[in-house]
């Protein structure tokens, strides 16, 4: 669980920006929790407040989260560049109004990317995300930008 304005310097500090992602991932959120990377389990969900991912355009931010196995990021809203980067590299990021007030640490959450429905198992609350724009859906359905690039190489168009 995180609050508002979680910036990309916090997610991955400048000193790790030019190291390979597998190595950098061990330092995710180091400034706030040295053990964060060790404690993450596959399909864990990050839930945060407003303006998640503000600051620098570094792709390393969503890339390290994805590398650690984070299933998705749910936030009240996202900073623009982080949101684009997350979708581009295949890390699901969903803006869900009201999410931060409804979730507690260690809650189980079910997320459907297709319908945009988020269910909190403990309370039975059901929330809806704002739908993805069409171009983002294309990227998500293709499984990330690399697949779109492969299509481009093969067909000359996306």
């Amino acid at each position: 669980m995180f609050g508002d304005h979680i910036n990309t310097d916090l997610i991955i500090a400048g000193r790790y920006l030019h190291t390979p992602i597998p190595e950098a991932a061990g330092h995710t959120f180091e400034a706030v929790d040295k053990a964060f990377a060790q404690n993450v389990s596959p399909l864990d969900v990050i839930v945060a407040g407003q303006n998640f991912g503000c600051g620098s355009a570094r792709d390393a931010a969503p890339l390290v989260l994805k590398h650690l196995g984070i299933g998705c990021v749910l936030a009240e809203d996202f900073a623009r560049i982080f949101f684009r980067n997350a979708i581009t590299i295949g890390l699901p990021a969903l803006a869900v109004r009201g999410i931060s007030g409804k979730v507690q640490h260690l809650d189980e959450i079910s997320v459907s990317l297709d319908s945009g429905i988020v269910s909190i198992i403990r309370t039975g609350d059901v929330l809806k995300t704002t739908p993805f724009p069409p171009q983002m859906r294309t990227i998500i359905e293709a499984g990330g930008i690399d697949n779109l690039l492969l299509n481009f190489k093969r067909d000359g168009n996306v």
Partner: protein, 423 residues
Amino acid sequence: MWESSGLRQTMAEKIFSSKVGRKVSAGEYITAPVDLVMSHEAFSTAASRLIAVGIDRIWDSDKVVIILDHLVPPANERMATIHDQIRKMVKQFGIRQFFDAYEGICHQVMVENGFVRPGNLIVGSDSHTCTYGALGCAASGIGGVEMSYVLATGELWFRVPSTIKIILTGELPPRVYAKDLSLSIAMQLGLQFAQYRSIEYVGESASKLSISSRMVLSNMSVEFGAKFGFFIADDKTVTYLKSIGVDDAKGFGPDEEATYEGEHRICADTLEPLVAFPHSVDNVHPVHEALGIPIHQALIGSCTNGRIEDLRAAAEILKGRKVASSVRLLIYPASRAVLRQAMEEGLIQSLLEAGATLCPPSCGPCFGGHGGVLAPGENCIASTNRNFQGRMGSPEANVYLASPATVAASAWRGVIGDPREVA
């Protein structure tokens, strides 16, 4: 003054409409061709991805500009290898517009070399690409991975942003600058008032600002969540562009009666020097609330405030004075050209005699990934754009953001100081 589209459009709407070839409005999702792509060390990520997928051609290598600035000079073998790889990839992809290390910070080099034109659409692998809005250019940051897509196809998807107008009025008092204006906006409106929006800085005071001062405000726009941070391209813009050899530039601005999502008035008349306290750009206080905070490092530079205007402001304060013995004052001119001009004007002499240290035209300590970083418990006052926890080194260090004049006054005093109190 500039052409109307006849469609009552904002600058963002006009530019996207022109790229797409039909009228588009705020809120629409489009795919648009870009005029230019800028990248720095992130190019190694973007280009490697293309190579891995088997794409060996960039859509138009003449529309790509690569500039090395973040890892300058390379501090270890890994950084040196990244630079070496980029030099090879630039040749491999036929990119002729390549500025090797020491030319300067990417955004400064882009503007100085005439790559930024009013009414154009530019994407860059750096969040402060929005700096080019100062010349009426739609410019925004993207990640290195998305950059690989643009390099292959020459286009990208966008949502046409709605626009917020910021009306600047009044006159900046002595020793108060564009950076203070920007910090005032942060203080009054916060970190996300312009999320996904385009900002247009307008008003009489906006037109009085120099190009360099406009760049400060456009640069800081991303700190408020903005996609674009425009100034109208007026006579000043055209004159500047002519002075750097761009003869065919035309003025560019919004249509009268364009639709705005909102507007704010910011008055400069009563502005004081401001300081953003750790660890947030909107944690802004007037300098008199910061007086006496001890300083270990002071930094004048960055894409925000590393230009000749900034060095002049600093030298005016420090000429004939000495930097406090407890302070390390680092000067990072934003480009080789800025450094050369500063030398001609005697500014470097004055700063060095005061005890400053001259550093290579580059990003330096700003992003914390290179030299000049901080130890736990140290305070740095900097003319940079971000002060998040850990931004400049230790997470237990503190970064205060301010104008170059305030930084210079603080370097002299050894504690945060008010530049207006320096004779």
